[in-house]
Symmetry: C2
Subunit: 311 residues, 2 copies
Amino acid sequence: MTRILTVAGAQMGPIQRADDRASVIERMLALLHRAHRRGAGLVVFPELALTTFFPRWVIDDQAEVDAWFEAGMPNPAVQPLFDAARTLGIGFYLGYAELTHEGGRTRRFNTAILVDETGTILGKYRKVHLPGHAEPDPARLHQHLEKRYFEVGDLGFPVWRTLGGVMGMCICNDRRWPETYRVMGLQGVEMILLGYNTPAQNAQGGEEVHLRMMHHHLCIQAGAYQNSSFVVAVAKAGLEDGHDLIGGSCIAGPTGAIVALATTQKDELIVADCDLDQCAFGKASVFDFAAHRRPEHYGRITAQTGATPPP
Amino acid sequence: MTRILTVAGAQMGPIQRADDRASVIERMLALLHRAHRRGAGLVVFPELALTTFFPRWVIDDQAEVDAWFEAGMPNPAVQPLFDAARTLGIGFYLGYAELTHEGGRTRRFNTAILVDETGTILGKYRKVHLPGHAEPDPARLHQHLEKRYFEVGDLGFPVWRTLGGVMGMCICNDRRWPETYRVMGLQGVEMILLGYNTPAQNAQGGEEVHLRMMHHHLCIQAGAYQNSSFVVAVAKAGLEDGHDLIGGSCIAGPTGAIVALATTQKDELIVADCDLDQCAFGKASVFDFAAHRRPEHYGRITAQTGATPPP
């Protein structure tokens, strides 16, 4: 038996500050059509795919901040993407900055949605692991103010049964945290979709630049293997407003092997036939959670946040 | 500032069923002396380092099973190892099958001890993630009866402040589980010691043989990076009683990079100068747990054992 989902990762080159949404959507439509020609049933776009990575700047004017956000989804700017997906019969994952009014207040999240092949929004994920800092920090090589502009996601890590399998979502820095994959693995996830914008340089120095790509792939591959799930990881890449972002978009299979890999820092499509039935072996053998996990010894993982070294 | 601990991984080639403890200890002493000449302050030996990997056999006679176990530690057979460690001023990690009488009953564990440079047993770890099965299973390519011969470890994943740093231990299959590293990471671990016996072939088939080494290194490197800790992983390797065990002993640094790697399946020493202060950067930046972890979204990790896919 096979359950093949042909999935495309639509890596995007840089989006400069001066680029408007229309020009971005035009590039995304080109990737979507290319994915259709390659037989894809699902396309994964990057995190914050509609704009430059604005958290690298200190912006004091709230109206200027909010111009990077989407107050509705879909909205007129992105509607052509939804229309094309429906016409072509392709689902997609889209990352964007979400502005919403909930509980009598304005809230802002780093969000991704899963849209099915009819153009219907099936699910929403709000980024849990916001990296960086909330206050400007001149000691850093560049600013990374996600904790300033976004609230921590409040939706957990849900999964959805759709497109023939069990799908999950996360965003960028979430991929460095094994908890992310495990919470979805415990819900039987078979494919995890994630977009990212990863500076080529650690803002706090102290990390050799060549290790950034290794760390990215290491976390993706380990998360895939240890939960016997596909992971589709898609970058916004290249020199964006003077800041270099790593590429390295990839699709990892449930053995942890990378089965498709981007080779540029530009708009580039990677495609793989993913047989979701390949997830079954790991889930029934080495990673048969019911047989082998020992939560009675994992208490610290949920009981404490920070590390508490011995005296 | 630097806190350099020179650590040696003492990979061991196969120990055949016919080999007695004395011949094994002789090989371990040779490795210990070699480690001393290389300047090591700590030597890591494999899991079940004193015997062949007996869980590959169905043994019905309990006395025959118990012959693979150590009823005391140290005992006359291993005393020369303790004596040499004290003489040379080297600490060591030793894996062995532990037989003990506790709470009025006989108990058996897959155990490791940490011995300091005075020959004193500082700490004990009992393997939590026992792989394999409890009942003979003719459908498997070989038997892996750890769940038959051992109880699940009851000591959790403690750490010890010794040898200039914060040290933790685990054993073999524990290394495939991110929970293992994280529970120690949450205690500020700086070096994780682990021995293993890993069949070159997955007993349940379904996994390509060449992936076994990749999976081993993938888990080690991810655990090291995601907890900003050294990991010293040491094999019993080679063709043991007709069953092939992978080598690939390695020392991974807190960036996840492998800094020393065995290249044989024989008795072989790998050595690295590990500056424990290198752990500080990751723990204060990307993996600043207090700043970035979100246990409120990790509930499933401790609340459930097996996976519960959506309907």
